[in-house]
Subunit: 108 residues, 4 copies
């Protein structure tokens, strides 16, 4: 029901949702310090939620997915940068970058 490009974007969104949720709620909480610094932690949780929502919009088949994908690309790019700044978050950086790139295409 979805194009190959959209299917691939749904996968990228769900992969990023999984990584951000799991890293925040396990790695970050266990490490503490910078990892639970409010702005960083909130960004990770907002990123996870936006990815989940963008995937949902594509699965529903609503044309509004273009707008959620645009916002998702923006949050993911910001989250990738912040995870890189803090360090020891390579898996999250990669998932956020891949999702940002994929959502950027869907938003166009």
């Amino acid at each position: 029901m979805q194009s190959a490009e959209m299917k691939s974007c749904i996968e990228a969104c769900l992969a990023c949702y999984k990584t951000c949720t799991s890293m925040a709620m396990n790695h970050c909480l266990e490490m503490g310090g910078e990892h639970t610094e409010p702005d960083h932690f909130r960004l990770m949780m907002a990123c996870a939620e936006m990815c989940r929502t963008s995937a949902h919009f594509m699965l529903i088949g609503t044309p509004h997915h273009k707008h959620t994908c645009r916002e998702c690309a923006e949050i993911c790019a910001e989250c990738a940068k912040d995870c890189e700044r803090i360090g020891d978050m390579d898996e999250c950086v990669a998932a956020c970058r891949a999702c940002a790139e994929s959502c950027q295409k869907m938003a166009a």
Copy 2:
């Protein structure tokens, strides 16, 4: 933790989420016909999901709530119009309009 205006917007989002979800999954499914016309039904479910997400972003305390509120205002306005067109959906029209207005302010 939220301003009075934000608290009021969270309430408007959750009220619209409740109304759209409940109307779609009960009233619309029972009525059938125009009520389960794919574009209309998808719009109602997209509206419900966007309201839920916007409320979540305000509760998280992320500055990205401005973007989700902007998109929420747009979907709610569209959903209000479509529910009005179909008719017999006054509760939904009212909840969508109130949410659109509140989200518009938060997005500014």
Copy 3:
């Protein structure tokens, strides 16, 4: 479409969802220390998610809401106890207890 008792339970679930999400992502993250202790923080986020899901099941109108309400009552009761142990979380304790009580009735 819902009974008065169910409407009241939906409200209790959404109130608890709002309080747990907002307290965890703002108060707890800002305070740190015991407030971001992994088990406590995970419990608050699990409580928020379960409340959101139970409300959703009642809005959908599925008979499975009895099972999600039963689990919601259990998590809320546990979260109330843990918030009381840590202290300075009165709003959360109250919302969790009210939700546990309301869900208990719906699960019966």
Copy 4:
């Protein structure tokens, strides 16, 4: 952070969430008739939501995932049966069965 068995269950839950959401909101809405019969459609949406929640609980790392997985296994089994009854839903039947089996193990 998750065992191989849990990782596999998260995948099964998200695969079932994707299939149920997409089939309901596209295939079922387009087909109409039995496909939008209220009880069937509600079951599909409840199944999608429960799968999403169970995956979330495993990603959060809360021990309550055992309870959400138990309920998820039950809803998925029921949804598989109902999709088989209606017919022309093979992809959904397969995703629900795989998820039910995987969740059953996690709930044990």
